[in-house]
């Protein structure tokens, strides 16, 4: 989107355009054109009135003081990450209004861990017959044979194989 105006040489018209856009302070002018424009502006009396008008407007704009910094605002800005983290805690509290939200979360995590451990520790059962070419049933560790046998008989499975 941006690009410097193509300039091959400085002209009075270009200096007038710079004064009209950027004002009389050469510090505001594009760096690439500054030296040549300043040289022309200072030496050509034809630009004196434009320089004076631009300078007058600059002086008026400078009557507005620089807004003062606000240290309290900085403190508030720096607290934004903390507030964002708190907001998540607030959402959890809204979801679980019965006390500290870490308790049900910890319970869920513990239950998930127990499930994973039990799942890995449980023997795998493979049931096959004419209709079910292969099925894998995971059963509770306390009585895997009885559980699989019950399920197999209920489903009309002919062959039952227990893998230990």
């Amino acid at each position: 989107m941006t690009g410097m105006p193509a300039m091959t040489e400085m002209t009075m018209d270009r200096v007038r355009a710079l004064l009209a856009a950027y004002g009389a302070d050469p510090g505001h002018w594009p760096e690439a054109e500054r030296a040549a424009a300043l040289c022309l502006a200072e030496t050509d009396p034809g630009l004196a009135s434009e320089m004076a008008e631009a300078s007058a407007l600059d002086g008026l704009l400078d009557v507005l003081p620089a807004p003062a910094p606000n240290p309290a605002l900085r403190v508030r800005l720096k607290a934004i990450p903390d507030r964002a983290a708190l907001r998540w805690a607030d959402r959890l509290t809204a979801f679980w209004p019965f006390g500290a939200p870490w308790r049900p979360a910890a319970g869920l995590v513990a239950a998930a861990l127990v499930g994973i451990v039990v799942g890995f520790a449980t023997p795998e059962a493979v049931v096959s017959d004419g209709e079910w070419s292969e099925a894998t049933i995971t059963v509770a560790a306390y009585d895997p044979v009885a559980a699989v046998a019950a399920m197999a008989s209920g489903a009309g499975v002919g062959t039952l194989e227990i893998l230990q």
Binding site: T2, A17, A21, P30, L61, V63, P67, N70, L73, R74
Partner: protein
């Protein structure tokens, strides 16, 4: 910025230290009052914290911040027009006499009012270049226009300001308007 995108609060706070004061000044000159400007800067930094991943290394960080602050200011301006309190924006030199102080105060209020009366893009262009001393290329980038278009905005804005403030300079220096 990549560290902020990963949730690094230390990097974020360094960004606050480096740019917050300038953004506050920029916002105050755009929206015209202190309280709204502080809201604008808070909105801008909240957006930075949440959306740092959207920053592209092709853009200067400061340019990106000004762009975010400008968008936040535009949101505020759409919701309401600012009210100007001359007491809040005028710097008075205690060495000046009462008449001179009144003149400076009135002139500053007139400048504030004239700036507020400009179309938003002209005002933003003048604030960026004159007050924030951004280069033409930076200001054009923040506004999303070419440098030629920026210069057109600046020239039209300055012409409108000159017309609105006709006579104020002479008044300020104690001469006839």
């Amino acid at each position: 910025m990549p560290r902020i995108a990963e949730g690094d609060a230390v990097a974020y706070r360094a960004l606050v230290d480096r740019h917050a004061d300038r953004l506050l000044a920029f916002a105050e000159r755009l929206v015209g009052d202190r309280a709204s400007a502080e809201d604008v800067v808070q909105d801008a930094y909240l957006a930075v914290w949440r959306s740092a991943a959207r920053w592209s290394p092709a853009a200067k960080v400061s340019t990106w911040l000004y762009r975010i602050a400008r968008n936040a200011a535009l949101d505020r301006l759409r919701r309401r027009r600012p009210t100007v309190d001359p007491e809040s924006v005028v710097l008075i030199d205690p060495a000046d006499g009462p008449e001179r102080q009144l003149s400076v105060r009135q002139t500053a209020a007139a400048v504030r009012e004239a700036l507020d009366g400009l179309p938003e893009r002209q005002r933003t262009a003048i604030v960026l270049v004159h007050y924030e001393r951004r280069s033409g290329a930076d200001a054009a980038d923040i506004l999303g226009v070419s440098v030629e278009a920026l210069e057109s905005l600046l020239a039209r804005g300055r012409r409108a300001l000159k017309a609105a403030l006709q006579g104020r300079r002479a008044d300020l220096i104690g001469g006839e308007p």
